[in-house]
């Protein structure tokens, strides 16, 4: 039985449409216009127990809305979802004791008190046995390297330290499912890496199910094998992470090292010049033109080294989302 099973899940928000200007504001007092926003539009997917899945998409794509639906924070407009055998929006305590939702932009800890006070409160709320609680606090604070900070008021911690405390609070009750919404947002590189390493280790050790949204592709590449891409409320891709670049990137990058000290002047003929560092150059070439471009380059120039690479995941995603108006199927190679 999958940990998460979603069928035709939809969430439509009815939002007030405010036109520009004072006159429109006054008119709005008497006649309000509303529009329906399809934040999530009949999506289907399944996540198996112990899987770590990335949920990707631009801002407003529906990622966070999906997480909110799966955590029972909001009610759907239509469709079904079963998470760990429960319907999330029924908000049964039996379900709420089995998952955690961590939102990088929201603070759950008591701001003015040391994190250990929040942890103690969680111990009671989640009914954690004392010896188990002590063991878990020790384990998690060690793993996240915050043993010396648990007695310090949360407001005095840095963003990275605070996020690590949030993770501890979220994991104290050993949830079977962890929903992470932008867990590394705003963190510096060192903190980001610490959080990534911790999540990777913890998920492997405990085999918990993790659903993660992030704009940092480094997070995604470091943690997940599978990615679900959502845009405009609909799923555009669901499969291995490495397939994303193959499927959505219409270009490849040819890196050439020419014989001699320079690069030829008319390289633009072969593709978009991304970078020149004589005698090396990088060209962005449409996928279908790669063989002919390679032949042409090898025919015309003396080349010491040549390689073809996929574009970084980040760029492939940017390309996909910039062109979101078109159906993704048309981009299939």
């Amino acid at each position: 039985m999958p940990a998460i099973s979603v069928r035709n899940l939809s969430k439509i928000y009815r939002v007030f449409r405010k036109r520009e200007g004072l006159l429109a504001s006054i008119r709005g007092l008497f006649h309000r216009e509303y529009e329906s926003i399809h934040a999530v539009d009949e999506i289907d997917f399944e996540v198996q127990r112990g899987e770590m899945v990335a949920f990707l998409g631009p801002n407003g794509a529906g990622k966070t809305t999906t997480l909110k639906l799966l955590s029972g924070l909001i009610f759907p407009t239509g469709g079904d979802a079963t998470v760990l055998g429960h319907v999330p929006w029924k908000r049964e305590n039996a379900y709420r004791r089995r998952f955690s939702l961590v939102m990088g932009q929201k603070n759950q800890l008591w701001w003015d008190l040391p994190a250990q006070e929040s942890f103690r409160l969680h111990k009671e709320i989640y009914r954690i046995e004392s010896d188990q609680f002590d063991r878990r606090i020790q384990e998690l604070t060690e793993l996240l390297e915050v043993e010396d900070l648990v007695g310090q008021p949360v407001r005095e911690l840095s963003l990275g330290e605070r996020m690590r405390m949030e993770l501890i609070a979220a994991l104290l009750h050993s949830p079977d499912l962890l929903l992470l919404d932008e867990p590394t947002i705003g963190l510096d590189v060192v903190s980001q890496r610490k959080v990534q390493q911790f999540l990777k280790y913890y998920q492997k050790e405990r085999q918990i199910t993790v659903l993660l949204t992030s704009h940092y592709m480094k997070d995604v590449e470091a943690l997940c094998q599978r990615a679900i891409i959502i845009n405009e409320g609909q799923i555009k891709h669901d499969g291995p992470l490495e397939e994303i670049v193959d499927r959505f990137s219409q270009h490849k990058v040819i890196e050439v090292q020419f014989a001699g000290a320079d690069v030829p002047e008319d390289l633009e003929r072969y593709g978009e010049v991304l970078e020149t560092l004589p005698p090396r150059a990088k060209l962005r070439v449409p996928r279908q033109d790669v063989p002919t471009t390679l032949n042409a380059l090898l025919d015309r120039f003396t080349i010491e080294d040549i390689s073809v690479a996929d574009r970084p995941l980040e760029e492939a995603m940017a390309e996909l989302f910039t062109d979101s108006g078109k159906d993704s199927e048309t981009r299939l190679p």
Binding site: S71, N93, L101, D112, L113, L121, K123, I125, Y126
Partner: protein, 279 residues
């Protein structure tokens, strides 16, 4: 049951600790709230000095209240308000709904109303620790204004009325806060409520001064927030044991039950339409 009691105790303890973080500010705010009591005592002194109506014993009397009774009434109404006023409760709920903090009540196995209740108890306990001294001093200085010593049963009825006043005030303000699930911003509504409450609870003037309107106001729950405890101590008609007080307390308990049910309904419906906007 035991586990729930322990959870509530830890919530209370954590809230108390939080309250003590800004103890200096809290103490200052509490003490400053005593200033209006003094000005009000002087104001009533000036009003009675200008009044000409006298009762049979030759004392100045306005609407059946002598000056001493009026000062006693005012101080008792203030005591009742110390239990029933809920500063920041409705606006706090509205803020939590607006900024998404309410999420913790929806995703964690805790009851929002219960949590807020214990939070408020902590708020009140810290308030009493700071305010008991000044309150005792004011009541001691004004001891001659109080007409009679209370017998045991009446004292118990007063304690019960104060406790139920706390519950009534809590549930009314929580209900206003929950309206934010529909309107997000409730500050204007809260302002209107505070204004009406000042008048309809008997905080401003005794409800028996309101004439025919007063008879209607008696049917509302607001009188339990200030007027009823004062009327019990002053032995006003309808508020003495064996003379209607028991019925008043039963009606108050009924109001509390109704308000509790309304809170539960508002929460259940509110979270259904909650959009959790903004990340």
């Amino acid at each position: 049951m035991l586990a729930r009691a322990r959870t509530n105790w830890v919530i209370l303890k954590t809230c108390l600790e939080e309250r003590f973080v800004y103890r200096a500010d809290f103490a200052f705010a509490t003490l400053v709230r005593f200033l209006p009591i003094l000005t009000q005592v002087f104001l009533w002194g000036a009003i009675y000095a200008g009044a000409t109506a006298q009762n049979a014993s030759g004392e100045t009397e306005l609407n059946n209240y002598t000056y001493h009774e009026m000062i006693a009434y005012y101080l008792l109404a203030m005591l009742a308000r110390a239990f029933s006023s809920m500063p920041g409760l409705a606006s706090g709920i509205a803020r939590d709904v607006r900024d998404g903090t309410v999420k913790k009540y929806l995703t964690q196995p805790i009851d929002m109303l219960g949590y807020l209740f214990w939070h408020r108890i902590a708020h009140k306990l810290v308030y009493y620790v700071i305010a008991t001294g000044p309150f005792a001093l004011v009541f001691f200085l004004c001891r001659n204004y109080f007409p009679r010593a209370l017998d045991g049963p009446t004292f118990l009825a007063l304690v019960l009325a104060l406790m139920m006043g706390f519950l009534t005030g809590f549930l009314i303000e929580a209900l206003i806060g929950l309206i934010s699930f529909w309107f997000l911003e409730v500050s204007s509504l809260l302002f209107i409520y505070m204004m009406l409450n000042y008048f309809l609870s008997g905080h401003m003037i005794p409800l028996d001064w309101l004439g025919p309107i007063g008879a209607w106001v008696q049917f509302l729950p607001f009188k339990y927030l200030a007027y009823v405890p004062a009327a019990i101590v002053l032995g006003k008609p309808g508020y003495v044991l064996g003379g209607g007080l028991e019925q008043q307390l039963v009606i108050e308990a009924t109001w509390i039950s109704v308000l509790l049910v309304l809170n539960r309904i508002a929460f259940a419906r509110g979270v259904r339409r909650y959009g959790a906007f903004g990340g």
